[in-house]
Amino acid sequence: MGFFTNLFGIHNSGQIAKNRLQLVLLHDRSDISPEMLENLKKDIIAVIKNYVEIDEKRIELDLEREDSSVALVANIPVMTVRRQRRRGEQ
């Protein structure tokens, strides 16, 4: 209990129950397996590499709870941005 009390800064068990439920359901509801997440990461890297140079090893991709919705949050460190070719310059 101490963990949750500290984490959420609350002391009554009803609120603790609600917070625990939200975290549990976040995982229950997302049908996204770790394997899928890994494949998704590879695909995202492949697309982004067409535009910018990124630090592939430091990419973070995970599910996070935001109020009542779940977000797929990616942290992608950019090294350099490729110079864009202007139209008609081919």
Binding site: N12, S13, G14, Q15, A17, K18, L21, V24, L25, D28
Partner: protein, 267 residues
């Protein structure tokens, strides 16, 4: 007649499915509807004892499915409430004694003869649950304000949605207002926040549920108890009436009981 077929389900066991089925069936019949409550919990039948009809069982649903008798020979008529019937299931069989196709067929037959078919579902998410829900149009999901029950309700709601049941509505059972008030129990609004489905009723934790199950008498038959009133209100909402929700978090004198007393007696 074309009955509405409603499955009462939960995921987790022991949260009040059978209690809700029995009391809602009785309340709807009391409102003049022709109602049959079907025990969908093969092998763990309980609806018969909760409704106090266990001594009158001759044939079960399984007998009808196996051709030993006709479906209407399984009907047990409640002598206390007009238009209330129950179909028992077998105690000495397992869940695979019934298939989804058979339940759809049975519900199709019952539709012609009743206004409401209420199906008491077994706990779990496996075949027993799926079969009991197969023939239903609508679902009532019962939960208690506890982490494990709400979690399982979330899973069941997902399954019911994928089975195209509609509407799917929530009953929060066994609420203890004084604990909610202290912040030591999930409130109904917390549960609704989390599950994001429509609420059809909240039922307080009430000793009268235990005494009425001891006697095999639906609550709605006896004097007005908080849970009995809650179930009657849910029956009215099923009927489409706009009944205000009880204020279970009331802080004024007398709390919940005071409010109910005022609602009934007018003071």
């Amino acid at each position: 007649m074309t009955a509405r077929v409603i499955v009462v389900t939960s995921g987790k066991g022991g949260v009040g499915k059978t209690t809700a089925t029995a009391n809602l069936a009785a309340a709807l019949a009391n409102m003049g509807k022709r109602v049959v409550a079907v025990d969908g919990d093969v092998g763990l039948r309980n609806l018969d004892v909760i409704m106090g009809l266990e001594n009158r069982i001759v044939y079960t649903l399984i007998d009808a499915l196996e051709g030993t008798c006709r479906l209407n020979q399984t009907f047990i008529r409640d002598k206390r409430i007009e238009n209330l019937f129950m179909i028992p299931t077998a105690q000495s069989r397992t869940k695979d004694a019934v298939t989804a196709e058979q339940m759809i067929e049975v519900c199709g037959e019952l539709r012609k003869e009743f206004d409401y078919v209420l199906i008491d579902s077994p706990a779990g998410i496996e075949a027993g649950f799926r079969n009991s829900a197969a023939g239903a149009d609508e679902a009532l999901v019962v939960t208690t304000p506890e982490v494990s029950a709400v979690r399982d309700a979330d899973r069941i709601i997902g399954l019911l949605e994928s089975m195209d049941k509609s509407p799917i509505r929530l009953i929060v059972n066994r609420i203890r207002p004084h604990m909610v008030k202290k912040g030591d129990m999930l409130g109904v609004s917390d549960v609704l926040d989390i599950l994001a489905i429509d609420l059809i009723g909240m039922v307080p934790d009430d000793e009268a549920v235990v005494t009425s199950s001891n006697k095999g008498e639906p609550l709605v038959l006896s004097q007005s108890t908080p849970a009995g009133i809650a179930f009657r209100n849910i029956a009215s909402r099923i009927e489409g009436k706009d009944v205000p929700f009880m204020n279970l978090d009331a802080t004024d004198s007398g709390g919940l009981f005071g409010i109910i007393r005022r609602a009934i007696l007018g003071h």
